[in-house]
């Protein structure tokens, strides 16, 4: 009897100890896993920065933290409109994210769904000096569609770029028109992006500028114009013109590097990465012009956000418009950021060596010249977006033989 009792007692104690230890270890490891280590505890807090990957300066936010005392928690999510909208609307994202950095032009659905706040540019000291904003994204110009809605500014432009297509000059020679994408000479060696606002719009630009179809505004087409563009693409698909419709950065680079395709509708950074991997790839300067776009950082609407956090968010936006961040992102991703980037890189050899500084200047000048050439501004949310999507589904479902 005594033995049973003391056995019980010992067992119960043991269980209790183990449970407490497990709980403690669990909580400790959980909190460590969630990144709330000692270092972060010393900061005033962290700004939650949802980003599609482009805005990550290699994980180094130390300059921002030193200046403001706030850390940055970068959350990686996809660029697809549904991802962002659904995360923000249904996933409680408005409570969680402070800033969302995605390709701009999404103001309409975001504002109408009460998901983002208008930005008070007077709180951004770097805004006034940013000539790109005034030159390319001024109110009343199509560029404003990437950061504003109904006269108000909602987004801070984080990167700017002009798209055309990449190609392998050793195989195709010098190319200077979107016609290359549809040229039977490269049949089976062409790739398009799976995106009706890029590939679709570039095709429309090509058809319009070469008078192959009557399209008033390639950026915002009517349902019948969209149908014309897709009919054209389906015809080309049936002829076996396209090898693949790519869906990711990695895939696109790989296609060029391994010479799976010779002409590809893609983004310029892919050509840069391909070159770094030793492949001679060029990004075309088409006579029809470029597809221009900008990324925008939005402030997610959250009435419960405390004012210090709001101030920190504005601080982060200003930091993004700053020269160090701009130089870092230009170097890492290959996009143009802000006017101070190139000069900063050159004048801070301790942070950017001579080669990197030259690269930053080169990329910036290159992109700026694209904006000067012009073309068409990408429309991420055209008026008839549903027709775009339905027609694109028809393109994808069409048989390819």
């Amino acid at each position: 009897m005594m033995n049973e009792w003391s056995g019980h007692f010992r067992r119960r104690d043991l269980i209790r100890m183990v449970a407490a230890g497990a709980a403690g270890a669990g909580v400790a490891s959980a909190s460590r896993s969630l990144g709330f280590g000692l270092a972060e505890a010393a900061m005033k807090g962290t700004v939650n920065f949802a980003d599609i990957g482009v805005g990550d300066p290699g994980g180094d936010w130390s300059k921002f933290t030193q200046a403001t005392g706030w850390g940055v928690n970068l959350v990686a999510f996809g660029n697809a409109p549904s991802q962002i909208l659904n995360v923000l609307v249904s996933g409680g994202g408005t409570q969680v994210y402070d800033i969302a950095n995605i390709v701009g032009g999404m103001q309409k659905p975001l504002v109408e769904n009460n998901l983002i706040e208008a930005i008070d540019t007077s709180r951004l000291p770097n805004w006034r000096g940013d000539t790109y904003i005034h030159d390319f994204l001024a109110p009343g110009t199509p560029g404003f569609e990437f950061i504003g809605y109904k006269e108000k500014v909602y987004g801070v432009p984080t990167v700017l770029q002009g798209d055309s297509f990449g190609y392998l000059p050793d195989v195709t020679g010098h190319l200077d028109s979107y016609e290359a994408l549809f040229n039977p000479k490269w049949k089976g060696y062409v790739a398009l992006e799976d995106n009706f606002t890029t590939a679709g719009q570039k095709t429309a630009l090509y058809l319009a500028k070469n008078n192959l179809a009557s399209i008033k505004n390639p950026a915002d087409m009517t349902p019948s114009e969209i149908k014309t563009v897709v009919d054209f693409l389906i015809e080309k698909k049936k002829e076996g013109q396209f090898r693949v419709i790519w869906t990711s950065f990695e895939q696109a680079v790989d296609l060029l590097v391994r010479r799976e395709v010779y002409v590809m509708d893609c983004w310029e950074p892919m050509v840069f990465v391909a070159r770094k991997k030793g492949v001679n790839a060029e990004y075309a300067r088409p006579r029809e012009g470029y597809l221009l776009w900008a990324m925008a950082a939005y402030i997610v609407k959250n009435p419960k956000r405390p004012p210090e956090r709001e101030a920190a968010a504005y601080g982060l936006l200003d930091f993004i418009l700053g020269p160090w961040y701009g130089a870092k992102i230009t170097l890492l991703r290959g996009y143009m950021t802000n006017p101070g980037a190139a000069a900063y890189a050159k004048s801070h050899p301790s942070e950017f060596n001579a080669q990197d500084a030259a690269e930053v200047t080169r990329i910036t000048d290159n992109v700026r010249s694209k904006f000067q050439l012009g073309g068409t501004w990408q429309d991420r949310w055209p008026t008839h977006v549903n027709d775009y999507e339905a027609e694109w589904a028809r393109f994808k479902a069409a048989p390819s033989k």
Partner: protein, 304 residues
């Protein structure tokens, strides 16, 4: 002495009631979990499929417009393709997996077979996107497979149809889901009472006959589970079609995402509901054709 006491305790009335309550309570936990976290979202999905769009959001209504849009449009083709592809992957996977499970369960020492089974799971620690992308690398025009074939003189031009066709999608799906199917088959085969097989031999049956009439029927629970794993996995797959499919190859997962991309919630919900109904219909057919009691077998009979 203590053991006898505890079972006589069970016999007394209140003891039975309390232990029953605890038992049913515990058993209900997983059911509650599923009901709360799954049935509610499912109900929401079905409800939304009948609502109509209001600007960027949705408004309660009752309309079958979303269903009409789905069945009349090019997306219906995606449903048919998903069913066919999932069926082929399941059939092929089963054909490949069954012999492996058979050898491992009935003709190998337990420790060896467990190690081999674990070796089959190793690929899964690698992110499946990276794995799928590796297939793209392997099957390309200038990739290792083509290079090997060219080097061996089997072909003179790189094979185009290895990649961005049904072939590559099938390879990707089978490689992703066939290993899932091996495990339940193995569990089922490993648990077969050897004496039944031995008895069949002793009675003079040929090995093939023994397999068809004894082993195979006894392994049906595993086959059932394997078919579900294979079919469900490949039907809803999103990454393999867009990485290996090529020219806009889509399965249901992709087309639903595409509809969500333009905030067409009713259409996405309608497609999801159709998927659920189709799958449940298959499950129901299975229930009718194969008496599920043979699956639950001893489990159910025993509950008396």
């Amino acid at each position: 002495m203590g053991a006898v006491q505890s079972s006589s305790e069970q016999v007394s009335g209140r003891g039975v009631a309390v232990s029953n309550a605890i038992r049913y309570g515990a058993l209900a936990i997983p059911l509650l979990f599923v009901v709360v976290f799954f049935v509610t979202p499912l109900a929401l999905t079905i409800a939304v499929s009948f609502w109509e769009r209001a600007g960027f959001w949705i408004r309660p209504a009752f309309t079958v417009q979303a269903y009409a849009e789905f069945f009349a449009g090019p997306r219906f083709f995606v449903l048919k393709r998903s069913l066919i592809v999932a069926g082929l992957v399941t059939a092929l996977g089963l054909a490949l997996a069954y012999p492996i499970a058979y050898v491992l369960a009935l003709h190998t020492r337990a420790r060896v077979s467990r190690v081999v089974l674990l070796l089959f799971t190793v690929p899964f620690v690698v992110n499946y996107i990276i794995r799928t992308f590796s297939w793209e690398y392997l099957l390309g025009r200038t990739g290792p497979v083509n290079q090997a074939l060219l080097g061996a003189g089997v072909i003179h031009h790189p094979l185009d149809w290895l990649l961005f066709t049904d072939v590559s999608v099938m390879i990707g799906l089978v490689a992703s889901y066939m290993p899932f199917m091996i495990y339940p088959l193995w569990v089922s085969l490993a648990g077969i009472d050897r004496r039944l097989i031995e008895a069949s031999w002793m009675l003079g049956a040929a090995p093939a006959w023994t397999f068809l009439r004894i082993t195979l029927p006894l392994s049906m629970p595993g086959v059932f589970a394997a078919i579900i794993f294979g079919f469900v996995g490949s039907f809803g797959e999103s990454a393999v079609p867009i990485i290996l499919g090529g020219l806009g190859y889509q399965l249901m997962g992709n087309t639903i995402t595409s509809a969500l991309d333009v905030l067409n919630y009713p259409l996405a919900a309608a497609m999801s509901s159709v998927v659920v109904v189709v799958m449940l219909a298959f499950l129901a057919c299975w229930y009718l054709v194969f008496d599920v009691r043979s699956f639950l077998g001893k489990i159910v009979r025993w509950s008396a």
